[in-house]
């Protein structure tokens, strides 16, 4: 019953979020700020994770290729496919759900318990829209760029692994990552990313917005936000893969 109630409240909140903004100019500048806060500030972690993700994928693929009949460029091909189709959009989104999701939930949760949200409401501001809409727009717009960056860095990480380990030649690796390339794979990954970005920002905002109590409640909201964002991202990943790839 509480899940149904929570879903209802979430839908109600999202309806308020997408109501007409009071002042477009203010929302625009808030969106730019959010792009910097939740987008640009995540570039570092995305680069580090992606480089290692690509490198590990290369090593794991090579270590599982026992058959001498398999060409070595398969390492590059598998690294590219798994990175573009799954690792970059899903794994990076899950990690961003942890970083950005907890940040959003604790920021909005703190505003709730310190009555800043009440202050906005008293002024006549639609607090849900004012606080949440710029975050959703920033994430849905900017996270696909992060994922493209992640794809590139992951392939560079794979290249470095090949170069230093000698599991295949760099020429074979480069040939592999260009083999059987379909642009639709990238489109599919970016579509998924946009959906994941919406899920992580809206779910985290919901948990922050509905915080009741004090510091402990903010911590709990933050944890719930990460847990539920992650679960819903995985669920959405399953559904989207069915819908878009099959």
């Amino acid at each position: 019953m509480s899940y149904i109630e929570s879903t209802g409240k979430y839908v109600g909140l999202i309806r308020r979020v997408f109501s007409r903004p009071e002042r477009f100019k203010v929302y625009y500048s808030r969106t730019i700020t959010e792009i910097m806060t939740i987008g640009l500030s995540s570039i570092g972690i995305v680069i580090i994770l992606s480089v290692f993700m690509g490198a590990v994928t290369v090593i794991q693929t090579a270590s599982n290729m026992d058959s001498p009949l398999l060409p070595r460029y398969t390492i590059g091909y598998i690294t590219r496919s798994s990175t573009i189709l799954e690792f970059s959009p899903t794994i990076i989104s899950l990690i961003l759900a942890g970083k950005v999701g907890s940040n959003i939930a604790s920021e909005i949760g703190t505003m709730r318990v310190t009555e800043q949200i009440d202050a906005l409401e008293i002024m006549g501001v639609n607090s849900a829209s004012f606080l949440i809409l710029p975050k959703i727009i920033a994430a849905v717009f900017f996270f696909p760029f992060l994922i493209v960056l992640s794809m590139g860095m992951s392939l560079i990480g794979g290249y470095m692994a090949v170069y230093f380990s000698g599991l295949a030649s760099t020429e074979e690796y480069l040939f592999g990552i260009r083999s059987f390339f379909k642009i639709s794979d990238v489109t599919y990954a970016l579509q998924k990313t946009a959906v994941f970005a919406f899920i992580m920002t809206s779910v985290s905002s919901y948990y922050g917005y509905s915080t009741k109590g004090g510091a402990l409640a903010v911590g709990k909201s933050s944890t719930d936000a990460v847990v539920w964002s992650s679960i819903l991202i995985l669920l959405a990943n399953f559904i989207l893969t069915q819908l878009l790839l099959l």
Partner: protein, 251 residues
């Protein structure tokens, strides 16, 4: 003027407000006093629309607030300034940006006009030149004054203050009280102050409503509250040894 008629507020099994009726006059500081947990803050939140009443009516002048939709309430909210117990300043904004915020959302003022207004409000609360401070860099008393400056930025008709003196030393409390009173008289606002600070009652209480167990137990002036024989009010007003000794001296 704000009028509440037969308000009831129920949370599950808890009946917080019982047929509460009161009227709060414009140009006066209206105090709502009572012990903790008697329903003062719930009453204030119901009046400003942060909580919905279970039954009853709230009137802003002659407009029935309880029957308004969200859009109509928004218009009333633009005429309300509120000072929260914890100041509720936006901690990502400077003092100046906090004061300019409602102006940037709801007026078409230029940046310079907003800045002039912010400076005027800061001057009014004796904080001129503190524009660029962040809320975290301000003392408790300063934060309250910034919150008052933000509350009056839009020239509100109604001012709500939820325990404006909590956490402040006696002299800063008196400063805040006097500021609220001055602004109320100057702008002819309908001011409602929620408090359990007896100093505030004596200092600025033009109309006092005593709330007890969710009922409007008593209404009167500060002169009347000192002389009343009502047991619950006597227990509240003369709870401290100091007030008891004062009462003994005054006879």
């Amino acid at each position: 003027m704000i009028r509440v008629e037969n308000i009831n507020k129920v949370f599950g099994e808890n009946h917080i407000l019982h047929d509460f009726s009161a009227s709060f006059e414009s140009g006066k500081v209206n105090l709502i006093i009572g012990q903790s947990g008697q329903g003062k803050s719930v009453l204030a939140k119901c009046i400003v629309g942060l909580m919905e009443v279970t039954s009853g009516n709230i009137f802003y002048d002659d407009l029935n607030f309880t029957e308004m939709d969200r859009k109509e309430r928004k218009e009333i909210h633009k005429e309300i300034g509120m000072l929260f117990q914890g100041s509720a300043l936006f901690d990502s904004m400077t003092v100046e940006e906090n004061i300019m915020f409602p102006l940037s959302m709801f007026t078409k003022m230029s940046k310079k006009e907003m800045l002039d207004r912010a400076n005027f409000c800061l001057e009014r609360v004796n904080l001129e030149g503190r524009n660029k401070l962040m809320p975290a860099e301000c003392s408790g008393g300063m934060q309250k004054r910034v919150a008052i400056a933000r509350a009056i930025a839009m020239n509100p008709k109604y001012l709500f203050c939820d325990e404006p003196n909590s956490g402040l030393d006696p002299s800063t409390s008196i400063l805040i009280d006097n500021l609220i009173q001055e602004l109320t008289y100057e702008y002819n606002m309908t001011t409602i102050v929620i408090t359990h600070d007896m100093n505030s009652v004596i200092e600025i209480g033009d109309n006092i409503t005593f709330i007890h167990q969710g009922y409007n137990w008593w209404t009167g002036t500060k002169e009347e509250i000192i002389k009343t024989e009502n047991k619950e009010i006597i227990d509240f007003v003369y709870a401290s040894k100091f007030m008891k000794s004062l009462k003994g001296k005054l006879g």
